[in-house]
C-alpha cells in the first residue's frame, strides 16, 4: 500500500513500523519477514547473535539500505521514499567509529551541524552545547584520535545528537568499552529516553538489553520473541538449573531417562524446571557423572534465547 503524504505527517504514528520486511543479499536471506512496531519514546533493544540480521534491520531503518520487500517506516515516513525527511529527524551511533580522527571534537560536531544545514556560528554553538550536556566539554579542542575509548564513544553520541534527533539509533554502540564506561554510556542513553526520545539499539550483550523497555530477540532473520525483559523471562517457565559436569552428554541422557528435559545447546547443561531448588539435591546425589558446578538462578535473557533457538547468543558467528 503506497503511503500518502497526509498519512506520513501523522504525529501519532509509531516511531518504527516494520511490516513483512525482507532483505536478500544475492542468495543470502538476511531478513525473512520481520514485523515490528516501536512506540514513540520507547527504549527498544534488538538482541541477537552476530549474523542474525540485527545490523541489516538497523541499516534499513537508518536509511542506509533498501528493503527487498515489505515496508519500513520511521516516524511514519517510508525509509525509501522519504529518506531525507527521516534523516533530518534521526541520529545514529555506528558500530564502527564515525568521527574524523584527525579533527578536534568540536570540529567533528560542527561539520555535522553544517551538513544538517546549521550556519557555521550556529553549528559551533550547538557543538559546545552538546559537549557540555554530555559532560565532555574538555574534548572540544582535542583531536579525536587522542581520546580514550569512552570519550570517543561519547563524542559519537554527541555527533548523533547534534541535530537534536527524535529517534536515536545505536548499533552495538558500546562495542569495546569496559564495564564502567558502558554503565555510564547507558545511563546517558536512559536520560535521553526519559526526555521523550525514541531509542532503538542493537546489542549482543544481555545486560545491555535489560535496560530497554522492550526487547526483540532476532535469530536467522526473524523476530523470535518480543516483550519486556520480564515478560521474556517468564516465557522460560520457571527457574534454571545450570550444571557443569565432566561428561555432559552422559548427564543429559541420564536426565532424559528420568523425565527431565534439558535444553539443547548452550554451554554446559541448562534445565528449566518450575521448582529448580527442589530437584537439585536429587540431581547432585544421583547423576552418574562428576558435577563440577551447579547453579540455580532465575532465567536470564540468554536462557530465553537458548530456550527459543537452541543456541547461545555468542555462538551465532564471529564478531
Amino acid at each position: 500500500m503506497p503511503p500518502t503524504p497526509a498519512e506520513t505527517a501523522d504525529p501519532e504514528s509509531a516511531a518504527v513500523d516494520v511490516r513483512a520486511l525482507t532483505k536478500h543479499y544475492g542468495k543470502i536471506e538476511a531478513l525473512r519477514g520481520v514485523d515490528l512496531v516501536v512506540g514513540r519514546g520507547e527504549m527498544f533493544a534488538l538482541l541477537g547473535p552476530n549474523g542474525a540480521g540485527k545490523t541489516t534491520l538497523f541499516s534499513i531503518l537508518a536509511t542506509l539500505r533498501s528493503p527487498t520487500s515489505g515496508s519500513a517506516r520511521v516516524l511514519g515516513r517510508d525509509v525509501v521514499d522519504e529518506r531525507d525527511a527521516i534523516r533530518r529527524e534521526m541520529g545514529i551511533v555506528f558500530q564502527e567509529p564515525a568521527i574524523e580522527q584527525r579533527l578536534s571534537g568540536r570540529d567533528n560536531l560542527m561539520l555535522m551541524g553544517l551538513l544538517y544545514g546549521l550556519s557555521p556560528a550556529g553549528a559551533r554553538k550547538r557543538a559546545s552545547e552538546i559537549l557540555g550536556q554530555l559532560g565532555i566539554a574538555d574534548v572540544a579542542e582535542r583531536l579525536a584520535r587522542n581520546l580514550s575509548g569512552g570519550q570517543r564513544r561519547k563524542l559519537e553520541l554527541a555527533r548523533a545528537l547534534v541535530t537534536d534527533p527524535r529517534v536515536l539509533f545505536l548499533d552495538e554502540a558500546t562495542l569495546g568499552l569496559d564495564v564502567d564506561a558502558r554503565r555510564i554510556f547507558w545511563g546517558q542513553i536512559r536520560g535521553l529516553a526519559d526526555n521523550g526520545r525514541t531509542i532503538f539499539f542493537t546489542t549482543h550483550y544481555m545486560a545491555e538489553a535489560e535496560v530497554a523497555d522492550r526487547i526483540a530477540l532476532i535469530d536467522a532473520g526473524r523476530i523470535v520473541a518480543l516483550g519486556t525483559p520480564r515478560e521474556l523471562k517468564t516465557r522460560v517457565g520457571g527457574g534454571i538449573v545450570s550444571l557443569r559436569t565432566d561428561d555432559d552428554a552422559r548427564a543429559r541422557a541420564w536426565m532424559r531417562e528420568r523425565g527431565f528435559v534439558p535444553e539443547e545447546g548452550g554451554e554446559g547443561i541448562t534445565l528449566v524446571h518450575p521448582d529448580p531448588a527442589a530437584i537439585l539435591p536429587d540431581l547432585l546425589r544421583n547423576l552418574p557423572v562428576r558435577v563440577d558446578r551447579a547453579e540455580v538462578h532465575s532465567p536470564s535473557l540468554e536462557d530465553v534465547f537458548i530456550k527459543l533457538t537452541g543456541r547461545g547468543l555468542d555462538t551465532g558467528g564471529k564478531p
Partner: protein, 260 residues
C-alpha cells in the same frame, strides 16, 4: 544542497590544513622539473636554458595542479573506508552535493598549491606584469577545476586505495606528457598534435602558457570551450556514480560493500 556542498568543502579543507606540510612537499616535483630537468633539457635544446625554463613554467604549473587535484580526489576512496563518512552519508544531503563539494574542495587545494608555486615564476625567467598574473591565476583556476573534476570522476569509481594510484598514474602521466607541458606542440609529430586535441591538460597548459608568453597553440575560445565541456561531462558522470550509491552507501563504487 548549498549547505551540503559547503560542509563537504569545509571538511576537506580542514583535513587539508591538518596535512598542510604537504603543500611544501608538493613543491618538490614541479621544482625538480623546472630547475633540474629544465636546466638539463634546456641546455641541449634550441631554446637554451633560460628560455626553456620560461617555456615549461606553465607546464610544471599544470603538473602541480593536476597531481594535487588528483591527490585530493583520492580522499573519496579513503572516505569510503573511514567511519566518519557514514555519518555524512546519513545526513540529509543529496549525493550530488557531496560530488560538487569534493570537486570544489579539490580545486581549492590544487589552486593553493599552484599559488605557492607561482612566486617561482621570476626565478624561472617567466616574469609577469599584473595583468599577466591575473590572467595566469584565471587560467590556473579553470585548470584546477578541470583537473579536480577529472580526479573526482575517476576516484568515485574506485573502492580500493591500492588500485587507484596505479590507474591514475596510467592516465595522468600520459595526459601530462601529451599536453605539451615540456615541449612545444607545434614541433611535435602529427599524431601527438592530434592526441593533444583530445587532452584537457593540453588546453589548460596552453591557456596558462599564453598568459605568460603571450602566444597560444590553440585558439583561446577553443581552449575555454574544451575545458568547459570536459568539466560539464565529467561532473555529470561523477554525479551519476554518486547517486547510484544511494542504496548501498558505497557512493557508487561497485566493489565496495558496507559490513552487514
Amino acid at each position: 544542497m548549498i549547505s551540503g556542498i559547503f560542509a563537504i568543502v569545509v571538511l576537506d579543507l580542514k583535513r587539508f590544513w591538518v596535512d598542510r606540510a604537504r603543500l611544501v612537499a608538493g613543491l618538490i616535483q614541479p621544482l625538480l622539473y623546472l630547475f633540474v630537468l629544465g636546466a638539463g633539457i634546456g641546455a641541449s635544446s634550441r631554446m637554451g636554458g633560460g628560455d626553456y625554463r620560461r617555456f615549461i613554467f606553465p607546464g610544471t604549473m599544470g603538473l602541480s595542479l593536476l597531481f594535487s587535484a588528483t591527490f585530493a580526489a583520492i580522499t573519496i576512496v579513503f572516505d569510503r573506508q573511514i567511519g566518519f563518512f557514514k555519518a555524512v552519508l546519513v545526513a540529509p544531503v543529496p549525493r550530488s552535493a557531496i560530488a560538487f563539494g569534493k570537486i570544489l574542495a579539490g580545486a581549492i587545494q590544487a589552486l593553493a598549491q599552484g599559488l605557492i608555486l607561482l612566486p617561482f615564476a621570476p626565478l624561472a625567467g617567466a616574469s609577469m606584469d599584473l595583468l599577466q598574473v591575473i590572467e595566469m591565476i584565471g587560467a590556473m583556476t579553470l585548470a584546477a577545476i578541470t583537473f579536480s573534476t577529472i580526479g573526482v570522476a575517476f576516484a568515485c569509481r574506485f573502492s580500493s586505495t591500492t588500485v587507484f594510484p596505479i590507474v591514475s598514474n596510467a592516465v595522468l602521466l600520459p595526459m601530462f606528457f601529451l599536453s605539451g607541458g615540456l615541449y612545444p606542440l607545434r614541433f611535435a609529430p602529427a599524431w601527438m598534435q592530434v592526441a593533444a586535441h583530445l587532452d584537457p591538460v593540453a588546453y589548460a597548459v596552453d591557456l596558462m602558457r599564453g598568459s605568460v608568453l603571450g602566444t597560444f597553440f590553440f585558439p583561446v575560445p577553443l581552449s575555454l570551450g574544451a575545458l568547459t565541456l570536459t568539466i560539464t561531462l565529467l561532473v555529470w558522470a561523477a554525479v551519476r556514480v554518486f547517486n547510484r550509491g544511494e542504496d548501498d552507501s558505497s557512493l557508487g563504487a561497485t566493489h565496495f560493500h558496507w559490513r552487514r
